[in-house]
């Protein structure tokens, strides 16, 4: 039984406790009287009879509770976090600072365009910068997550074929190295998924692709560099084959960080791309904040972009809606996407500038290849030993699992004891007992060296003291969690304990 490290906020609740200084004006003084009056105007039958089940706590209880929770957190602000395909780069505080200017925070989403020209000018510039860095013709900032960006992308591919009366195209080709979200997206959009293999060096199997395309091909979804951490070298041939068959190319932007400022998806032949602004453009994510999955398209898909998008008319900016874009796939959020996240990405890009943007790609790749070279020299097995890493790479503990009964999960858990968050484990599925390592460009050489030292120490322990790994973590607030039980008996709601029981 795990010890309870911190009670839920509800368990601190005591009837009538609160913090008047923190209450909104509507609940105190004259505001309270007005609120009471408004409430009495509601028909009695529609008024609630009991208080909502919200915690009633003092300010000090709240401060202590959340401070303790933050101390239990293993985060990018406290530790190196090389989670592959997630781009857990540092989120500069300046981005928060400027995005939280009162003029941005107080802006109402329904305010007329004329009163939000400053915000709209930031959004239009963000659209234009994203177009430029990806080589796409137009961008919509509307999708509120990577998955929603994917949905928008495939929905646009379908809308494009339908608009041409090309109704038979309902197949989306997905290489086996793809993120699981790709086949899920295709299915959500009513398409049939055709999986094709990759070859021994991680490139798309061209012969299989040629066999898969045809009059039913709506498009192909590709991540480049792929989830195997290698650049798809045959991308131009892939584009020729898919376009030749009448299909479109979808670029999954999960690994855009690797090529930022170096190669552009638009130049590779992609027709549509989603970008995870919360990865590549450094807004908080992974429990730290909501995402933003902006989509970019080539000219032929522009009419289908989700609305609203920001239009520039001389020096004035306005939201373009269904009226301006009658062929749009529609709206994906009530307003314009996650405005606060978009602002942070905008500020990040402005801070980097054009030269900074290509340094991101260079340093992310350099850091990954440095780690790869040092870990290989230390005796770790690479999944793709003949290939140079992109911004991430895969080691496999297949040998250790077989000979020493030590798994990738054991190594991941042991890393916590050395002060490092684990890399991604057991993904991609193609590589057994794998760790997918992505250091990002924001880590120093000293941090990378410390990570290598920890990995070397753990590799030695696999031979000399496997129990250290099997029982890890030893130093964390909680020990090895029962993830099987967590998956099978998911319980996410707190229920009041019956005091009579």
């Amino acid at each position: 039984m795990n010890q309870i490290l911190e009670k839920s906020i509800f368990e601190y609740s005591r009837e009538g406790r609160g913090a008047a200084a923190q209450q909104p004006p509507a609940l105190v003084g004259a505001g309270a009287a007005a609120a009471h009056e408004a409430q009495s105007a509601l028909p009695a039958a529609l008024r609630r009879r009991s208080k909502p089940l919200l915690p009633e706590v003092s300010e000090l209880d709240v401060v202590r509770h959340f401070t303790r929770l933050s101390q239990l957190n293993f985060s990018i602000d406290t530790n190196f976090y090389p989670l592959g395909s997630c781009t857990m780069k540092y989120n500069p505080k300046a981005c928060n600072q400027y995005a939280m200017l009162p003029e941005f925070l107080a802006r109402h989403p329904l305010a007329p365009d004329s009163q939000g020209q400053g915000f709209l000018s930031c959004m239009v510039e963000l659209q234009e910068m994203l177009e430029e860095v990806t080589g796409m013709k137009a961008v919509s900032l509307n999708p509120m997550a990577g998955a929603q960006g994917e949905f928008a992308g495939v929905a646009m591919i379908r809308a494009y074929h339908h608009a041409r009366g090309d109704l038979a195209r309902n197949e989306i080709i997905v290489p086996e190295a793809a993120h699981g979200t790709n086949p899920a997206t295709a299915t959500m959009c009513g398409c049939v998924v055709r999986e094709i293999p990759v070859d021994a060096e991680g490139d798309v199997d061209i012969a299989a692709l040629e066999k898969a395309v045809g009059p039913h091909t709506a498009g192909i979804m590709l991540t480049n560099p792929s989830t195997l951490g290698v650049f798809e070298r045959k991308i131009q041939e892939v584009a020729r084959i898919v376009h030749g068959a009448g299909g479109l190319l979808y670029y999954d932007g999960a690994n855009l960080n690797a090529i930022l400022g170096k190669v552009r998806p638009g130049d590779m032949g992609f027709d549509v791309i989603h970008m995870n602004l919360h990865k590549t453009f450094s807004t908080p994510h992974g429990g730290g904040g909501p995402g933003a999955g902006a989509v970019g398209v080539s000219a032929r898909l522009e009419p289908f972009l989700p609305v609203p998008v920001v239009g520039r008319e001389g020096e004035a900016y306005r939201w373009l809606t269904e009226v301006d874009r009658p062929q749009s796939i529609g709206r994906l959020s009530a307003f314009m996407g996650n405005a606060g996240v978009l602002l942070r990405a905008y500020i990040y890009m402005r801070m980097l500038g054009r030269s900074g943007m290509s340094q991101v790609g260079e340093f992310a790749t350099l850091n990954a290849n440095y780690l790869l070279a040092r870990l290989r020299a230390a005796g770790f097995d690479l999944a793709y030993p003949t290939r140079r890493a992109s911004h991430e790479f895969i080691i496999t503990l297949r040998r250790q699992a077989k000979e020493l009964n030590v798994t990738a999960m054991d190594v991941a858990k042991r890393l916590l004891d050395y002060g490092f968050h684990a890399p991604t484990t057991y993904f991609p599925l193609l590589v057994p007992e794998c760790l997918l390592i992505e250091p990002t460009e924001t880590e120093s050489r000293e941090t990378l060296d410390a990570f290598v030292e920890a990995m070397v120490a753990i590799l030695a322990e696999t031979e000399t003291d496997a129990a250290k790994l099997k029982g890890a973590p030893w130093t964390m607030p909680v020990r090895r969690l029962d993830d099987v039980r967590a998956a099978k008996q998911l319980e996410l709601t707190w229920k009041p304990v019956n005091s009579a029981a």
């Binding site: 057991y426 599925l429 057994p432 998956a487 099978k488």
Partner: protein, 131 residues
């Protein structure tokens, strides 16, 4: 080393097929497959009456590591599925060749089993994969 019983045949995609005395076939995933997946937390099996083609994705196994499709090694009609797996997916980890069976089919042609791998050939495939 994974266990490969001699009384059945195997698909390259790590399913097993056992011919029952009455001509039906029983299908599940192999010891190698359950080991590679790890602890299973969810299993979805096809409904009786569903007609399956050879190689068709027809079931899903999900572990803490991954979710994978299970392919029907031969063509046939689903007669029965293993309802116990809904509440106890771990049966596949504990006894993949027995209590962890997934479905029983009426095969289009029992001869289809001959096209599948025998135990030796499947063992050779695993060895070639490094497993």
């Amino acid at each position: 080393m994974s266990h490969i019983p001699a009384d059945r045949r195997y698909a390259k995609s790590h399913e097993w097929v056992r011919l029952l005395p009455d001509g039906r076939v029983e299908i599940g995933i192999t010891d190698h497959a359950q080991q590679a997946l790890g602890d299973l937390v969810f299993v979805e099996v096809p409904e009786p009456g569903r007609v399956l083609g050879a190689g068709e994705a027809c079931a899903v196994v999900e572990s803490v590591k991954a979710a994978s499709d299970v392919y029907s090694p031969i063509a046939g009609t689903v007669l029965e599925n293993n309802a116990d797996l809904g509440g106890a997916p771990e049966l596949i980890n504990q006894d993949c060749y027995g209590k962890g069976w997934m479905m029983r089919l009426q095969p289009v042609s029992p001869d289809a089993l001959d096209a599948l791998l025998g135990p030796e050939a499947y063992a050779a495939q695993l060895a070639a994969e490094g497993g």
